[in-house]
């Protein structure tokens, strides 16, 4: 009897040793980027020793490396059965489940290891939008400007916003905010008559709600109804005299109608409220040019060029300066600005009409 136990123990020791050898071979293959050999070795190890967590983990990792996420799930789950607190296994299993569309199942694993980026995606998928936005922001703090994270954050924020708006419209359909929200949707869809109607209804309910006149003004501006746009922007500027955008939009609407002196005053006011806004400065330059205030035009457009350097707005400012200098008979300066304009056209393409 004893001999039988000894034989069994010895056999087990041999299997464990053989399994570990396959694990080592698998790791060697990994170093040589031979992923299929790697998988074969780790698989052999798991077959020889079904209790060897290391072998299951590495097999799962090898499948992940091969982007065979479906195949990775089972060995990673087995790893965690054998070694429940292994963080790396939780992380890989979370990723694998997420990649396979099992966001809810992935969430606890990702939470366990604090993988904020993947966790946020899982939360986005499962409709936990607020948590998702929080985690995307946290992940972005570590990897600023990551295009994937920025995309997901935008997507999650949009859905969160939509969800809140849906709740608003459902709970308070006749509120000014509900009409405003509907109007914004119509505006995005370029359904201007409907947008106009909803904004007007919102204004009827709450005439003093900040932002409504500004948005309605943009509906009118979009359809080139400049006198109406002017009225709305003016109302907003009166409501919020400290809001630079209202002054800018009012100035731009005045400019479109050729009311250059009024536009100049309003754009100067906007620039005073919020300095160095390139669009405001560009329009201020135009207003200056139109009113014969060459100094303002030159100063504003020069500042646009300084701020924007090689954008299309900078190109436009160069073009404006060229016209200004040509009118003043300053041929060399005009030529220089025209060359700068053409240079930028060459790099960023010709400015297109809207």
């Amino acid at each position: 009897m004893l001999s039988l136990f000894l034989l069994a123990w010895l056999a087990g020791q041999g299997a464990a040793s053989a399994a570990e050898q396959h694990v080592r071979a698998g790791l060697d293959a990994r170093n040589q980027h031979q992923v299929d050999v790697e998988i074969a070795e780790f698989r052999k190890a798991t077959e020889l020793d079904p209790q060897l967590a290391d072998a299951f983990y590495n097999l799962g990792a090898a499948y992940m490396e091969k982007r065979d996420y479906g195949a990775a799930i089972a060995p990673l789950k087995r790893t965690l059965e054998l070694s429940p607190d292994l963080p790396a296994a939780h992380q890989l299993l979370g990723y694998a489940l997420l990649a396979q569309g099992y966001a809810a199942e992935a969430t606890p694993h990702l939470e366990k290891v604090g993988a904020q980026d993947a966790l946020a995606i899982a939360q986005l998928e499962t409709g936990h939008l607020s948590d998702a936005v929080t985690n995307f922001n946290a992940a972005l703090a570590k990897r600023p400007n990551d295009p994937d994270l920025l995309y997901y954050l935008g997507h999650a924020s949009g859905l969160l916003s939509k969800s809140a708006i849906d709740a608003l419209i459902s709970a308070h359909p006749e509120s000014a905010r509900a009409h405003e929200a509907l109007a914004e949707n119509y505006f995005v869809l370029r359904q201007m008559p409907q947008a106009e109607k909803e904004y007007q209804e919102a204004l009827r309910i709450r005439p003093d709600l900040p932002g409504l006149h500004l948005e309605l003004g943009q509906v009118y501006a979009n359809s080139a109804q400049w006198p109406k746009a002017e009225d709305e922007f003016r109302a907003e500027a009166k409501l919020q005299p400290g809001k630079a955008e209202a002054a800018y939009r009012l100035g731009a609407a005045l400019l479109q109608q050729g009311k250059a002196q009024e536009a100049l005053a309003e754009l100067k006011r906007s620039n005073g409220l919020k300095t160095d806004m390139p669009e405001t400065l560009y329009s201020l330059g135009k207003a200056g040019s139109l009113t014969g205030d060459a100094a303002t035009a030159e100063k504003s457009w020069t500042r646009v060029v300084e701020l924007e350097k090689d954008t299309s707005l900078a190109a436009q400012a160069h073009f404006g300066l060229a016209g200004l200098y040509r009118k003043q008979g300053k041929a060399p300066q005009a030529q220089h600005e025209m060359q700068e304009f053409q240079k930028l056209q060459g790099t960023i393409g010709p400015p297109r009409s809207e």
């Binding site: 370029r190 359904q191 201007m192 008559p193 979009n222 359809s223 080139a224 109804q225 400049w226 006198p227 400019l255 479109q256 109608q257 050729g258 250059a260 135009k286 040019s289 139109l290 190109a315 436009q316 160069h318 073009f319 404006g320 016209g323 040509r326 009118k327 008979g329 025209m338 304009f341 053409q342 056209q345 010709p350 400015p351 297109r352 009409s353 809207e354």
Partner: protein, 528 residues
């Protein structure tokens, strides 16, 4: 102050049954949305303006090159209507020998000028296909002299105009061409919406300049003159001597890009200088969807300015001639910003509709896309014409008198009923032309001049004519695909007398003092 009553009233064109057959198809061939021209001319010299219309043609669905456009079918003929003394019109197309528009030619526009100085206006018809020069035989008939004259052009011609660019007394011919396009290379844009493509989808091409040899033949000098050095997407064309050097310059309205200003160097060559002179782009340095154009002095400073019609979201461009060969973009200052940013303009005229001494604005309007309303609910396919009175250089909209929106394209201007007030004829896609008859009768005086060149070309095209401080450059070209009454109309306001100063293309100056108002006057260039 803006007048409250409409300037015009829509009147039936009695005897005119023309329908502009543009033949729209689901294939959205770009040619479908571009015709068609109208000319106001007195082809038989009876003192009454006659009307010539250019037709499109039948477009098969789908169309395959070569396509004949079924121009032998009377439905697709161009049409000449002779005005009768009672104001009605008679279709004289067949009798005049104009019924054969040439299979394979989808019609676009028309130019009018007496290219052989025989005293009778000749016709040049542009097409997608082959252009045709019809010589006016002086007996009510015309003869196709294209082959002999050598002016068929080919490709896709749109607008054209007669101009004496070298001041040799013979009218030359300038032809705009839109793009390299044919049905086999057509594209449909707009995704599910299926729309006509923007011009940039197709390759640009060159305009054509023909020099009149004076013997009934023309020479293609596009290359030699420098005109062909620039490729564009040209639609409209207009002429004036913008820098006062005695040679007529050429402005070309290009679609979706920079405009062209061909400065006449006076030696048979041209230099394209739109960008340098400030007449190439908007004030924001952006390209324009240039379509129709006119080159006349809107602010009575004696220098010709340029107006260009465009698509919505752009403003009709007004390039003010600042002198010294320089222009500045003044659409906003002139009030055009508020009037035009939501509209699409084609044919355009700067004429003194209220005879107050300031040239007013008329634009035939309609979007280029016939389904634009499905794409953008804030835009309209059919629009009312724009009529804006000129108040000392600032335009203010007045009612046009048209009550129904139109798919307007061409617009030609002239005094159709010889009452001293300028009228307009608008062509509409798929529909009949619309006559907008000037209501007149506001007490202002006027003067209408017909130039008779002797050393200069007989039509006097290119002459600079100044009357009581106003200036006109003699031409029948301008607008879009159209030819205007060649008579030079001046509103005189309350003045009952006028002083006329003419600078003929020959260089001769002529002054007529104390001329009575309210008359049609022929002025003959003095013999040297």
């Amino acid at each position: 102050m803006a007048a409250t009553a409409p300037i015009f009233e829509v009147k039936p064109l009695r005897g005119i049954d023309f329908i502009l057959q543009n033949s729209p198809t689901p294939q959205k061939y770009l040619i479908e949305t571009m015709p068609g021209g109208v000319a106001l001319l007195d082809y038989n010299n009876d003192g009454l303006l006659d009307i010539f219309f250019v037709n499109g043609g039948r477009i098969a669905n789908p169309l395959h090159v070569p396509e004949n456009f079924d121009r032998g079918n009377s439905k697709y003929w161009n049409r000449l209507y002779r005005q009768n003394p009672d104001g009605s019109f008679t279709d004289v197309t067949q009798a005049a020998g104009l019924a054969v528009a040439g299979n394979g030619n989808y019609g676009m526009g028309v130019a009018v000028g007496d290219y052989d100085n025989d005293g009778y206006p000749d016709l040049y018809v542009t097409s997608y296909g082959r252009n045709i020069l019809y010589h006016n035989n002086g007996d009510g008939t015309f003869t196709d002299v294209t082959a002999k004259a050598g002016v068929a052009a080919g490709g896709w011609s749109v607008s054209a105009g007669f101009v004496d660019y070298d001041n040799d007394g013979h009218l030359d011919l300038f032809v705009t061409r839109y793009m390299d396009w044919d049905a086999d290379h057509n594209k449909i844009c707009g995704g599910d919406w299926h729309t006509y493509c923007p011009p940039a989808v197709f390759p640009a091409t060159t305009c054509v300049l023909y020099r009149n040899r004076g013997d009934g033949t023309f020479e293609d000098i596009s290359e030699r003159s420098g005109i062909a050095a620039k490729k564009g997407r040209a639609l409209g064309v207009c002429f004036a001597d913008y820098d006062g050097d005695g040679f007529t310059d050429i402005f070309v309205a290009n679609d979706g890009m920079q405009q062209f200003l061909f400065h006449n160097n006076g030696n048979g060559t041209f230099t394209e200088c739109a960008l340098e002179s400030g007449a190439g782009l908007t004030s924001d340095g952006k390209g324009l969807s240039g379509m129709g154009t006119v080159f006349q002095d809107y602010d009575n400073d004696g220098r010709p300015d340029i107006l260009v019609t465009e698509l919505p979201r752009e403003l009709y461009a007004l390039y003010h001639n600042d002198g010294q060969g320089s222009f500045s973009y003044q659409s906003l200052e002139s009030g055009l910003g508020a009037l035009t940013s939501g509209s699409s303009g084609w044919g355009i005229g700067l004429e003194d509709f209220d005879n107050d001494g300031w040239k007013d604005l008329f634009v035939a309007q309609s979007h280029v896309l016939d389904n634009v309303e499905r794409i953008d609910a804030s835009l309209r396919y059919k629009e009312l014409p724009l009529v804006a009175l000129n108040h000392h250089g600032r335009f203010e909209r007045v009612e046009s008198g048209a009550t129904s929106p139109l798919a307007g394209r061409g617009a030609a201007f002239g005094d159709i009923n010889n009452d001293g007030w300028i009228d307009a004829v608008v062509t509409t896609l798929g529909g009949p032309p619309v006559l907008l008859l000037n209501r007149g009768g506001q007490g202002n005086h006027w003067l209408s001049l017909t130039l008779r060149g002797t050393h200069s070309n007989r039509d006097g095209y290119g002459a600079r004519v100044q009357v009581n401080g106003q200036t006109r450059f003699a031409t029948s070209a301008g607008s879009y695909v159209c030819a205007n009454d060649k008579r030079l109309h001046f509103g005189l306001g309350s003045s009952e007398r006028a002083t006329i100063e003419i600078l003929w293309p020959s260089g001769q100056k002529q002054v007529l003092n104390d001329v009575r108002a309210d008359q049609f006057l022929e002025v003959r260039e003095p013999e040297r």
